[in-house]
């Protein structure tokens, strides 16, 4: 897609957070959506940013709901990134660190987007269900999953 020349007033600070693996791959497939904005990418695996030709990618610890102490550590690190970047928009393709970022960011005034992973063809992921209350824009990449859950469908990375 063409990079649109945004006037300086319309440039937004965007934080795009995705765990390593398929979540990150999908974020990379959607990165044209952030063209022209000041984007800070955040992930959980060192080296992913370089592989995607990106500089300044920030790392936070990965976490899941079975390890609450680690999740708390991850939360503090994500909070530090949000305070440093002051994003106006936060978008995540998963997983739990993305939910934490949306939850914190929404409380701090950011507009938040959840795009559930394309792998969830039958129902929302666990993280995606958790993200519902923290996302201004809550999306599935499958029309049937979106309509069953009351989410929005606007397309998919496929």
């Amino acid at each position: 897609m063409a990079v649109q020349g945004l006037e300086s007033g319309k440039r937004k600070r965007v934080m795009a957070i995705a765990s390593g693996g398929g979540h990150w791959e999908q974020m990379m497939m959607l990165r044209d959506a952030f063209a022209g904005h000041d984007v800070t990418f955040v992930t959980t695996l060192a080296g992913l940013g370089e592989r995607s030709g990106l500089e300044g990618v920030r790392l936070v610890p990965d976490c899941n709901r079975h390890k609450p102490v680690r999740a708390l550590w991850s939360l503090l690190r994500i909070l530090a990134v949000i305070i440093a970047v002051r994003p106006q928009v936060i978008i995540s393709t998963g997983a739990l660190p993305g939910v934490i970022a949306l939850a914190l960011g929404k409380r701090l005034g950011a507009r938040t987007i959840w795009v559930d992973s394309i792998a969830n063809a039958e129902e929302f992921s666990m993280a995606g269900s958790l993200a519902r209350n923290h996302a201004h824009l809550w999306m599935s990449q499958w029309p049937s999953v979106a309509s069953a859950a009351g989410a929005e469908y606007a397309g998919s990375v496929l």
Binding site: M1, Q4, L6, K10, K12, V14, G22, E25, M29, L30, D32, A33, F34, A35, H37, V89, I91, R111, I113, V115, I118, A119, A121, E122, L137, M139, Q141, W142, S144, E152, A154, G155, S156, V157, L158
Partner: protein
């Protein structure tokens, strides 16, 4: 070389058997990742599992990819711009929990670079046709639509 994959979760014996038979009949060079250490094949090369690096290597070296209709199969073929033949698992034959692979291929109908085989005859035809087009990311209307929605929301 044709690279065949069934994903990392479940074996797919109906598919591997069909590939083996077609390879024998038509003299095709096929390497299959089977997810099945007990798979017996005569006419194709096979490995139950591949580490990510050798999976990537096989995708890169293949002139076409054939696989179950999994997301990983589709994204891998597209990443390396290869023609892709999909042979969906059928829940009605006990090959998956539900028919989401049929839903996946229905959502991809008409995409340049994606070919669907519902029968072994269609599979044989697609494995031997000379004129398959590669799968390209930029041809995806669904992806462009999602990007447009996100970019509109961000700019608003």
């Amino acid at each position: 070389m044709i690279f065949a994959t069934v994903g990392t979760q479940l074996p797919f014996p109906r598919f591997i058997t069909a590939l083996d038979r077609i390879a024998g009949k038509r003299g095709l060079d096929i390497f299959a990742q089977t997810c099945d250490p007990a798979a017996r094949v005569e006419h194709i090369r096979a490995s139950a599992h591949l580490d990510p690096a050798s999976f990537d290597k096989h995708i890169r070296e293949a002139d076409r990819i054939v696989g179950h209709a999994g997301i990983g199969t589709i994204l891998s073929a597209r990443k390396h711009t290869k023609p892709l033949i999909l042979y969906p698992r059928l829940a009605s034959l006990g090959e998956h929990r539900n028919e989401h692979q049929l839903a996946t291929v229905r959502s991809l109908v008409g995409r340049v670079g994606i070919y669907v085989a519902y029968t072994d005859e269609e599979l044989e035809d697609l494995l031997t046709r000379p004129d398959l087009a590669p799968l390209r990311a930029e041809d995806s209307a669904a992806r462009n639509a999602l990007i447009a929605r996100l970019s509109g929301f961000i700019a608003a």
